[in-house]
C-alpha cells in the first residue's frame, strides 16, 4: 500500500537532539505515525515493526496509530530514519522533498537499527560514547 510520507519536528525529537546515540532519540525518530484504519488494513499492530520503502531507500520503523492523521498519509519526525527514504533531488532549489515522499509500507519482523547502525549502513564507522 502506498502512502505520502510527511516529516517534521516533534518536541521529543528536539529534546533528545543532542543525544542522538541514545535509545530515547532512536525511539522517537523511528516512530511512524499512521492512520489506525490503514494499520488495520495492513494487519499492523501498534508498536510492531514495518518496512517503509521509497524510490531512494528503505528503513525499518515502528508503527503507532494516530487518529488525526488522514488515511494514506504517514508521518515520521525529521532525522536519520526519515532520511533513508527522502531522495536528494532538489529541482534546482537546494531543497529535497522532505514533505511528500511516496512510500510503500509492509509488515516486517526485521529489527530496528540504531542511529549508529544506520550511519554504518551508509558507509560510516560507529562511535560509541
Amino acid at each position: 500500500m502506498t502512502f505520502i510520507l510527511n516529516t517534521g519536528r516533534t518536541i521529543r525529537q528536539g529534546s533528545y537532539v543532542e543525544r542522538k546515540n541514545s535509545s530515547f532519540y532512536c525511539e522517537e525518530a523511528s516512530l511512524l505515525h499512521m492512520n489506525p484504519v490503514d494499520m488495520l488494513e495492513l494487519d499492523i499492530e501498534e508498536g510492531s515493526h514495518v518496512r517503509a520503502r521509497s524510490s531512494s531507500g528503505e528503513v525499518v520503523v515502528k508503527a503507532i496509530p494516530v487518529t488525526s492523521l488522514t488515511r494514506g498519509k504517514v508521518f515520521l519526525c525529521l532525522g536519520p530514519y526519515a532520511n533513508q527514504l527522502v531522495g536528494p533531488e532538489t529541482y534546482g532549489t537546494g531543497m529535497p522533498d522532505f514533505k511528500t515522499t511516496r512510500v510503500v509500507i509492509e509488515r516486517t519482523e526485521d529489527p530496528l537499527l540504531t542511529v549508529a547502525e544506520l550511519m554504518q549502513s551508509c558507509g560510516g564507522v560507529s562511535y560509541e560514547d
Partner: protein, 428 residues
C-alpha cells in the same frame, strides 16, 4: 549562583528571560525555559576530547593534533565544502567565511534545507516583515502556515502571539484570532480559531485562491481548492481582511513541499494584497537559534546569504548548484568541514553516503549522526553556556548570548582561528 536574563541558544525565538542556576561548571536549574531549553542547559552529554578515526577505528587525540589534521585535510582537498554554522555564534561564522575564501571552498549553512527557499523568494519580491515586538503589541490576527510552534518553537505563542498580552491587546487570548494552515492536525492547530487543512502539495493553490478573494474575485473560486472548501477560504480571507494588524508566520511546511520558493513568493504576495486593505506582515519561523545570523554574516562578507562558492576566487551563489545537498548528491566535494549541525541526520541518505566516503571533519560539542560518518571530531564549548557570542533572533534582532561559566572546552572561534592560521601559513 543564579544568573538572570539568560539567552536560550536552542530555537530562533532566542528567549532572553531565563534564570539559570549553576554550581561550578554545571547547570543545576533552569526557570522560564521550555522543554527544549531545559534539555539544552541541563544536558551533559558532551564528547570528552577530539577523536580521530583511522584504519584501527576511533582514538582520542589532542587538540593540537586534531587541528593539524583538520588543516591538512582541507589543504589537500580540491573542492572542500564547509557546512553548518547555524548552531554557533556570528564571530565563528565570520572566521568560517574567511576560511572558505582562503581555501576556495563552498560555504553553506543549514538554511539550505530550512528557509533557503524563503530567501530565494525574498530575493525575488522582498520581505514585508517586522519584529516580534510589533507582533506582540499590535497583531490581532495571527496565521501560522505550515508551522507547528507548540513543538518547534514552544514559547513563540506565549511570548509573542496567542497568549502574550501587548500594548494594544490587553487580553490577547480573547482579542487575537489565530488561523493555522497545515496538512495535518497538530498541537498548534488544536488551539486555532480556524484550522485550514490543505492537501499535501496544495499550499500554492490555496494561497492563490486567497489572493483572488482578497482581490474581490470570489466568484472565481471553485467549491474546493486543494481540500479546502470555498466557504472556509472566504471565512479565512474575511478574518484576515478584518484584522487591524495581521502577522503570517510560515514554516517548513511551505519551504519543503512542492512549489518551495514559489510557495513563499505567493505567500509574500498574499501579504502585499492584504496590505492594500489593512496592515499585514510575514515572517519565517527560523529553526536553529542562529541560522538567521549565518545568513547575516555570510551576506555582510560575501553578498550572499548561503550556498556561497569561492572556487572562482570570487563569491558565486546559485541555489540548486552551490547548495550542499546538490554538491553531495553529485559527489562533487572531496572533503567536508561540518560546524554546529548534523547533516548525517538531516540530509537524504545519498548525501550521508558521500560524507562517509570523503574525509569529513566535524566541530561540535556532541556526538551525533555525522560523528559516525566523520574521520575527525573536535568538541567545543556550547555557545550560551560556556562560550559567548552574537546571535540573531528569527526577526533579525541581534542578541548577545552569555557565557555562564568558564568551561574546559575551547570555543568554535578559537578552534576555527587555529585552523585558519595553519591553512594561511601553508598557503602563504
Amino acid at each position: 549562583m543564579k544568573i538572570e536574563d539568560v539567552i536560550c541558544p536552542f530555537c530562533g525565538c532566542l528567549c532572553d528571560d531565563l534564570m539559570v542556576e549553576i554550581e561550578g561548571k554545571k547547570v543545576i536549574r533552569v526557570e522560564n525555559g521550555c522543554t527544549l531549553a531545559n534539555e539544552k542547559f541541563m544536558g551533559d552529554h558532551r564528547l570528552k576530547s577530539p577523536i580521530l578515526r583511522d584504519a584501527n577505528g576511533w582514538r582520542e587525540v589532542s587538540y593540537e593534533e586534531a587541528i593539524s589534521e583538520a588543516a591538512r585535510i582541507l589543504l589537500d582537498a580540491d573542492r572542500p565544502l564547509l557546512y553548518g554554522w547555524s548552531g554557533t555564534h556570528g564571530e565563528a561564522q565570520s572566521v568560517g567565511v574567511h576560511l572558505a575564501e582562503l581555501l576556495g571552498a563552498v560555504i553553506d549553512n543549514t538554511s539550505t534545507v530550512c528557509h533557503g527557499p524563503s530567501i530565494m523568494a525574498i530575493q525575488e519580491v522582498g520581505h514585508p516583515g517586522c519584529t516580534l515586538g510589533q507582533v506582540k503589541n499590535r497583531a490581532d490576527v495571527i496565521v501560522y502556515w505550515g508551522a507547528n510552534p507548540i513543538e518547534a518553537h514552544p514559547r513563540h505563542m506565549s511570548r509573542y502571539t496567542t497568549y502574550a498580552d501587548g500594548f494594544f491587546l490587553k487580553d490577547a487570548f480573547r482579542e487575537r484570532k489565530v488561523v493555522v494552515v497545515d496538512v495535518r492536525e497538530t498541537e498548534s492547530s488544536a488551539i486555532a480559531n480556524e484550522f485550514m487543512k490543505v492537501d499535501p502539495g496544495g499550499d500554492y493553490a490555496v494561497l492563490s485562491a486567497l489572493r483572488a478573494i482578497v482581490r474581490g474575485k470570489r466568484d472565481l473560486i471553485p467549491a474546493k481548492v486543494s481540500g479546502v472548501s470555498r466557504e472556509q477560504l472566504f471565512r479565512v480571507a474575511d478574518i484576515c481582511l478584518s484584522a487591524r494588524f495581521g502577522a503570517i508566520f510560515f514554516g517548513l511546511g511551505l519551504t519543503m513541499s512542492p512549489g518551495k520558493n514559489k510557495n513563499i513568493r505567493n505567500a509574500i504576495e498574499l501579504t502585499e494584497e492584504l496590505s492594500r486593505h489593512t496592515k499585514f506582515t510575514i515572517s519565517p519561523m527560523r529553526g536553529h537559534w542562529n541560522v538567521y545570523g549565518s545568513n547575516e554574516v555570510f551576506t555582510w562578507i560575501t553578498g550572499y546569504p548561503y550556498a556561497v562558492d569561492f572556487a572562482r576566487g570570487i563569491a558565486f551563489y546559485n541555489p540548486g548548484e552551490t547548495t550542499s545537498v546538490d554538491i553531495l548528491r553529485r559527489g562533487e566535494c572531496d572533503a567536508c568541514l561540518v560546524v554546529a549541525s548534523d547533516p548525517g541526520a538531516h540530509f537524504p541518505q545519498e548525501c550521508a553516503r558521500h560524507l562517509a566516503k570523503i574525509p569529513t571533519i566535524q566541530i561540535d560539542p556532541h556526538v551525533n549522526a555525522t560523528t559516525h560518518l566523520s574521520r575527525l571530531q573536535i568538541p567545543v564549548a556550547v555557545t550560551g553556556i560556556d562560550a559567548e557570542g552574537t546571535a540573531y533572533r528569527m526577526d533579525g534582532i541581534p542578541i548577545r548570548t552569555r557565557m555562564l561559566f568558564s568551561g574546559d572546552y575551547p570555543s568554535d572561534v578559537e578552534v576555527l582561528e587555529k585552523i585558519y592560521a595553519r591553512v594561511k601559513e601553508e598557503k602563504g
